[in-house]
Amino acid sequence: MTVEDKNIDILIIGAGPAGLAAAIRAKEEGVSNVTIIERDKILGGLLHQCIHNGFGLWYFGKDMSGPEYANRFINMVKDLGINILLDSMVLNITPDKKVTFCNKNGVQTLEPKAIILTMGCRERSRESIMVSGNRPAGVFTAGTAQRFVNVEGYIPGKEVVILGSGDIGMIMARRLTLEGLDVKAVVEVLPFVGGLIRNEVQCLHDFDIDILLKHTVSWIHGKERVEGVTISEVDNKMIPIAGTEKDVKCDTLILSVGLVPENELSTMAGVKLDPITGGPVVDEYRMTNIPGIFAGGNVVQVHDLVDNVSWESEIAGFNAARYAKGEMFKEGKIRLIPGNNIRYVVPQVISGEEDVTVYMRVREPKEMVRVKIGDVVRKAERIVKPSSMLKYDLSHEKHLSKLTEGTKEITISCSEKGK
């Protein structure tokens, strides 16, 4: 794209699965100039390094690897004539939607009619969880290790301890084992595994990798390079219990301790963030508090399934297209409030006048529960877990039209049956 080509209807920031799905959906609505801007040299975002399978089971009804899933969307983006700006990093967005970016041609500014934020997530690091000990080489986040092993062709070490039982950590445990490394243990501070049951079985049990629940790494040893870690049991407040320390020899510590939505740009644009999700507060159109700025995918909430990333971003793409064509949206009058055992709900506000799919996560695993969305939906669930996002369709006709006039809040709760 040339610098003169500035008549952009919709600018999409980030070309991961979220950005690609949003762009395709927007273009399908007949918008003429849809442009994706991406700091990497290729389209696809995180998916290129996720070489394992388990993607697309829901969206395509097929078990695919990350790159295979990405390529389906990349091909569509190319076929539809969506503009692509690679190797270009967005530096700033203003509340009146001026977007400044930088690439080999220098710093430039674009003024699109609508923006879709799809910048994804960043990993939490050693600093964000404050692991004590020395500061030797050999401490990696799981995603960094994944990039080394799957894309760049390096192995991070020989003997590995993994802290955190999120999906990425478990997937790396299997990957490193298959590459011949010795994975000594996966250590998890909570009393339950953080990731999906499929990954626990296929990544840990299949390879007899130990998982230590209610344990943490309390010290990192080594001067130049990691020489070992101390693993301690923790109490109910997650404080290491004195006397339970065990030293484990290893040269690598991998951290899989969560993701944080990457929202520095959103904040510059004046987009309001939800303190729990770390992502923008959005309505059912996936529009933020700034008119014309939309968001989808991991930048809104940390997803465990890419299929939901694609679906959510299609909502943003569809509505950004409507916005760019000058359509008006219904006002978000009703707030969705997380109640008992619900950590967050997305979208955070709705108009109550349209069909909407609500996504949520629970705080703690529970069996035989009832999820209540105000008085309009009651749904029995056999099990709920923080690792599995819950998703419910609210129809205007069947549910939302039953709300009393002037409803301002709907509380969503998850309680054990009979209580």
Binding site: E152, V201, I383
Partner: protein, 122 residues
């Protein structure tokens, strides 16, 4: 003497712990319990008789920008063969260009399973 075998069903987030009772002599499954639905029964039987997984990995390339190409087996392979297969995968070298879906190694270990590219290499 019947023996007990435990498997965890991964079909849904319930993750039921299922116990199979198997006759040691005939290897016949006599009883399955712990599954909260029918799907779990089939899963447990398959996991006991022949647990299979798709193997995903990378192979070396002659490209400077992309030293690795991601690959997977074109069908699920026996779980217990995965580690052995990695030794075959480690020796595969591909030359660009390679198309997504292209077979990069045929009939691994004579098991009628191919290794296919899951990314384009240009």
């Amino acid at each position: 003497m019947p023996k007990k075998v435990n498997v965890i069903c991964t079909n849904c987030p319930m993750g039921c712990g299922i116990t199979l009772t198997v006759d040691e002599k005939s290897d016949e499954v006599i009883n399955i319990e712990g599954n909260k639905c029918k799907q779990g029964k089939e899963y447990a039987l398959a996991e006991y008789k022949n647990p299979v997984r798709v193997l995903t990995a990378t192979v070396r390339t002659n490209s400077l920008e992309n030293p690795l190409l991601p690959v997977r087996t074109d069908k699920p392979v026996p779980r217990d063969k995965m580690k052995e297969m990695m030794y075959v995968v480690a020796r595969v070298n591909v030359k660009k260009p390679v198309q997504l879906g292209q077979v990069v190694e045929q009939n691994i270990m004579g098991m009628d399973v191919n290794l296919i590219a899951t990314e384009n290499l240009t």
